[in-house]
């Protein structure tokens, strides 16, 4: 499968503040009643953004100055909770291409990497700088460079981190693992023969 090599993400940023931003807040469960991911665009952070009557809560995502942002600036333990891939799918299908946060829940991180959406970590201080610039100058164009591992704009260059393996997978265009996983059928068959399967 020919996949695009993801080496950088450019564009405006939008703050999604708060620690432990859980998957129920990223996408409330009622939006999971679907058999495809096609309807998820626009559902990200729905109850954080809208009241029950549909009126806006004034979340930064809906602020005109952040319209069209491609990078989310989050807090600690972003994406904790459920394994629902609907969470990164909803984010990606809403136009976001990368998330920068202090830390990520494992499953969310893996799900995002597997659909080609980089999640990188930055220190609390670096994120504060990025948030400050984004709030003061929302039109700021950021560049997340996976080669240099920096998040930069004309005013600042901030270091970011990511484990080497998923970073390589993104940069080499190998982020969808299924192709590589099909390359060792004999070894898989040998383990399948050796390791017991539950049976009646």
């Amino acid at each position: 499968m020919a996949l695009n090599k993801i080496t950088s993400v450019c564009g405006k940023a939008v703050p999604v503040p708060g620690a432990d931003m859980d998957t129920d807040r990223i996408i409330p469960a009622r939006f999971l009643k679907c058999v495809t991911f096609d309807e998820l665009a626009g559902t990200m952070f729905y109850d954080e953004r809208f009241n029950a009557d549909g009126s806006s809560k004034g979340h930064p995502i809906d602020a005109p100055q952040h319209a069209g942002a491609t990078i989310i600036l989050g807090g600690e333990n972003f994406g904790c909770g459920s394994s629902r891939e609907h969470a990164p799918q909803a984010i990606k299908r809403s136009g976001i291409q990368a998330v920068v946060a202090e830390s990520f829940a494992e499953i969310f991180f893996g799900n995002a990497a597997g659909i080609g959406m980089p999640c990188v970590c930055a220190t609390h201080a670096a994120l504060q700088t990025a948030l400050c610039i984004t709030r003061e100058a929302p039109q700021t164009q950021w560049s997340l460079d996976l080669e240099a591992m920096t998040l930069s704009c004309p005013m600042a260059t901030l270091p970011v981190t990511m484990p080497a393996e998923p970073r390589e997978a993104l940069m080499q265009g190998r982020w969808d693992a299924v192709v590589e996983l099909m390359n060792a059928p004999e070894a898989v068959a040998a383990l399948a023969a050796k390791l017991p399967a539950p049976s009646l």
Binding site: L32, V35, A52, E106, V178, L181
Partner: protein, 470 residues
């Protein structure tokens, strides 16, 4: 230096190393349900790939199934569509589905162990974060995303990086009225909702060794609420006694061989851990959450903490947000606070032992006026056991709505939901904002015992006082 169970199981299931450096890990057992699998089957069709090992995948319907009326067509056409998709997809692939009429349907994390499909020394995955539950038998069990569900269906393997292992020990004897749920909430409270990032939790120590299997399932189920993708307990005599005779457990001579093999996966006495924490069982009280993250908990006699006493600015902000959402004041006790709804069930606490443990206390008592109380067995097998043992009748006579098996009010994908800002005394696993179906609904996580006390008093209560447990 010896090895941990995690490392032994990982090594036994390693196929090789992928070009990006990740391990290709063989998956022994895979569970699927209706929410996170339909897209995976669709991806397979797009790639024109078959299911490689249908005999290693097992399906059931749990999240969207109503617990009051399961007559088809289901009232919610979207729920029916998801159920139909699971039936079609599993039938086409030759995957065994424990459907509604089988007597084996239920929450995927209940039926796996109950059927004996969940076994020690396995890698077990499911598109569901509470897959950690299955680690209680001594396996590497973890939640995965839908694209990974596709990977497992297509290749029976996953691209993974190993976790570090933290040995979480609870030593001593739990006090009367303190349960596995309290231990889980206590540990998460101590280590934080993000404390387990990058770790698998190996639960050990004399208090864990003394726990029955259903308690261990509760504990491992909640590992993910502390950010540990896997939780496990080393397999021992309790594990083997639990599994023996279950439908999918090995039988006859194969049983003896299996037990020997399973024992070999247990962590060595001199195993090397990346971290060790030790807690004293006697320090753990019946525990209840007050906030919107599972680490926001207090002992039943404690008070809601003040933001200004938080150790750092982020925690302070989180506490302010939580107090506002929960409509609580810093310093107030939770004990005595009125509740509207009681939910006893879920993959955390919907097992036979949970219902057995509280039935004697509910006998002859009534649910408090104005309280809606739901008791939802995790599986049809548990439901039938509860009927046979007279437990279901005790709940009904006490004024509980005794429901059919499913995820119910844990996650708001079926008709069981909170209304407005109702407060729910819940044995489930997440107190996130809006988790139980109302964007303003409030969840207090607790043990079944404390939930039973809440049901009969209509308030947050100490079950030791209400039921005279000393």
């Amino acid at each position: 230096m010896g090895k941990t169970l995690y490392r032994k199981v990982w090594e036994a299931h390693t196929v090789g190393t992928l070009p990006d450096g990740r391990t290709q890990l063989f998956i022994a057992t895979h569970f699927v349900h209706e929410v996170t699998s339909p897209q995976a089957f669709a991806m397979l069709r797009e790639l024109n790939l078959p299911v490689l090992h249908p005999e290693r995948t097992f399906a059931t319907v749990d999240h969207i199934i109503p617990t009051d009326n399961q007559c088809e067509p289901l009232a919610d056409p979207r729920a029916q569509t998801m159920l139909n998709a699971l039936r079609t997809n599993t039938a086409a692939a030759g995957i065994r589905m424990f459907d509604l009429p089988t007597g084996y349907q239920g929450i995927v994390h209940s039926i796996g162990p109950e059927l004996g499909i969940t076994q020690p020394g396995m890698t077990i995955v499911c598109g569901d974060s509470h897959t950690a539950t299955h680690g209680a038998v001594g396996s590497i069990a973890m939640g995965i995303g839908t694209t990974q569900v596709r990977d497992v269906l297509a290749t029976q393997t996953l691209a993974m990086l190993p976790l570090k292992v933290r040995n979480v020990r609870v030593e001593g004897t739990l006090r009367p009225g303190v349960t596995a749920k309290d231990v889980a909430l206590y540990i998460i409270g101590k280590l934080g909702a993000d404390g387990g990032l990058g770790y698998a939790y190996e639960f050990g120590g004399s208090a864990i060794e003394a726990m029955d299997m259903d308690g261990r399932f509760t504990l491992c189920n909640m590992a993910i609420e502390g950010a540990a993708r896997c939780g496990y307990v080393n397999p021992d005599a309790t594990t083997f006694a639990y599994l023996k005779g279950r439908p999918y457990a090995p039988k006859g001579e194969a049983w003896e061989a299996a037990v020997e093999r399973w024992k070999s996966f247990a962590s060595d006495a001199d195993a090397e851990y990346d971290d060790v924490v030790i807690y004293q069982a006697e320090d753990i009280e019946p525990t209840v959450t007050w906030g919107i993250s599972p680490d926001m908990s207090i002992g039943i006699n404690g008070a809601v903490p003040a933001p200004e006493e938080a150790p750092d600015a982020e925690t302070r902000k989180a506490r302010i947000t939580a107090l506002e959402y929960m409509q609580l004041q810093a310093g107030q006790p939770l004990k005595g606070m009125p509740i509207n709804v009681v939910f006893i069930g879920s993959c955390t606490n919907g097992r036979i032992t949970d219902f057995r443990a509280i039935a004697p206390y509910l006998k002859g008592r009534k649910v408090a006026a104005g309280v809606k109380a739901l008791a939802v067995p995790g599986s049809q097998m548990t439901a039938m056991q509860c009927e046979a043992e007279g437990i279901a009748d005790i709940f009904r006579e006490a004024g509980f709505e005794w429901r059919l098996a499913g995820c119910s009010m844990c996650l708001a994908m079926n008709p069981d939901k909170l209304q407005g800002d109702q407060i729910c005394a819940s044995t489930s696993n997440r107190n996130f904002k809006g988790r139980q179906g109302s964007p303003t609904g409030r969840t207090l996580l607790m043990s079944p015992l404390m939930a039973a006390a809440a049901a009969v008093t209509g308030t947050v209560a100490d079950p030791r006082d209400i039921f005279d447990i000393h």
